[in-house]
């Protein structure tokens, strides 16, 4: 069982949790036994069921400990299946959680939700400001994952989480794909899941970098400029993607940019291929800008090993801005995404 703490009242409990380094610095909902019990009940699973260990502290992630984080983050019980899937995704060896938590880079887990759970376990927003404030599920699901990384994984700034500055997405970083308005099949379908499945995909990502593009319908070839701009944002010479290479990075297309590329006859794989081909780095320039990494006579090189390392989804409001998230590109699995099916069959609706 989880260790029980005692306090005179909730205000004292909050100060105690801050003092112990158990929060993200913001106020949390006090994880009383009753609140945690309801969250465990919502998961439909045993409190002591173990999902795995979380680095770098190698704490054991039980349903109950994850429920504690979900309560503290302000989650509704409805969100638990997504929170559990996100924790499973970062525990998977392919995610390299220990190294990712410990790095000096700013990387944070970006949670992408696909499938019916976007509505039934949310709603998880995919539209205007999906990565900003005002969306309870997005805010609290991402925050719950971070609190598991702090309290189960023991990632604490300056001692075990050595990010030099971090970024605001380390508080929460969660959105859904706008499947209803996307001209492409949902991301999870292209990753091999069934349309009816609900899936969480987690990928280590820098903060979102805005890419402005206004097309010109009178110039059909103009969409290539959008591809050029996305590639520049994703792997400019200041990114780890250009310097370390071979890590997966993320592109979030807004509805208009997705429509522009779809009208040009491109599907998700085509867009990834086109961006990949544009992420070619000039060896001489690399030698000048990054001699410590470039070697003596660096040849031109590709930022990505292949198009599959460019994760593309559609989200956001309608306008001129898409987002790219360059990445860390290190660890044994060089910044691979991790996808886990959301198991909402176990989910138990709590009366009252």
């Amino acid at each position: 069982m989880t260790e029980m703490l005692a306090a005179a009242d909730e205000a004292a409990a909050l100060e105690d949790l801050h003092e112990r380094g158990c929060t993200d610095g913001l106020p949390v909902v006090i994880p009383t036994a009753e609140r945690v019990g309801r969250m465990v009940l919502a998961s439909g699973q045993e409190a002591d069921m173990v999902l795995g260990t979380m680095g770098p502290g190698h704490g054991t992630a039980t349903i109950e400990k994850i429920a504690v984080a979900a309560v503290m983050a302000g989650c509704l019980p409805d969100y638990m299946p997504i929170v559990l899937a996100a924790v499973k995704a970062v525990i998977a060896p392919v995610f390299d959680l220990t190294e990712m938590q410990a790095t000096t880079h700013c990387t944070a887990p970006l949670i992408i939700v696909n499938g019916p759970a976007r509505h039934s376990c949310g709603p998880v927003s995919s539209g205007y400001g999906a990565l900003g404030p005002g969306h309870r599920a997005n805010a609290s699901i991402g925050r719950a994952l971070r609190l598991t990384m702090i309290n189960i994984g023991k990632g604490r700034p300056g001692s075990s989480d050595m990010a030099l500055l971090g970024h605001p997405g380390k508080f929460t970083y969660c959105l859904a794909e706008d499947e209803e308005n996307s001209p492409f099949p949902p991301l999870h379908v292209d990753l091999g899941y069934a349309q009816d499945d609900s899936v969480v995909t987690v990928i280590g990502a820098e903060a979102p970098h805005s890419v402005i593009y206004s097309g010109d319908a009178d110039k059909p070839e103009h969409y290539k400029s959008l591809l050029d701009l996305l590639a520049i944002g994703l792997a400019n010479p200041a990114t780890n993607n250009a310097i370390l290479t071979s890590g997966t990075a993320t592109v979030v297309l807004n509805p208009e940019h997705a429509a522009t590329l779809h009208t040009a006859g491109l599907g998700r794989q085509d867009i990834a291929r086109e961006i990949h081909e544009r992420c070619r780095l000039d060896g001489a320039q690399l030698k000048q800008l990054a001699p410590a990494f470039a070697g003596e006579n660096p040849p031109d090189r590709m930022a990505f090993s292949g198009p599959e390392q460019i994760l593309i989804l559609m989200a956001g409001g309608s306008g001129l801005y898409s987002m790219v998230m360059p990445s860390w590109c290190a660890g044994t699995h060089v910044n691979s995404p991790s996808s886990v099916k959301i198991e909402s069959d176990f989910y138990c609706e709590i009366p009252g």
């Binding site: 319908a217 409001g317 309608s318």
Partner: protein, 75 residues
């Protein structure tokens, strides 16, 4: 939207052009600046990047509405 309201407040006839996607935001700005009935005309969305031919077509369609709204504001 804000420009239209500022001009209207100076007594200069003004009409704001707002795309349908941003119509709710137009309502919000008009309300928050205390001129909920400030004249505005709805455009399709998006206009930017939709090509000169399309923009010309939109302009021709809305020009009479713009003139009517400005005339009404001048009364």
């Amino acid at each position: 939207m804000r420009d239209g309201i500022n001009l209207a407040k100076l007594g200069i006839p003004a009409v704001a052009l707002v795309t349908e996607e941003f119509w709710p935001q137009g309502d919000f700005v008009a309300e928050s600046l205390g001129m909920p009935d400030v004249p505005r005309i709805q455009l399709p969305h998006p206009v930017a990047g939709s090509g000169k031919t399309n923009m010309q077509k939109i302009a021709e369609e809305i020009a009479p509405q713009v003139i009517r709204a400005l005339e009404a504001a001048s009364d």
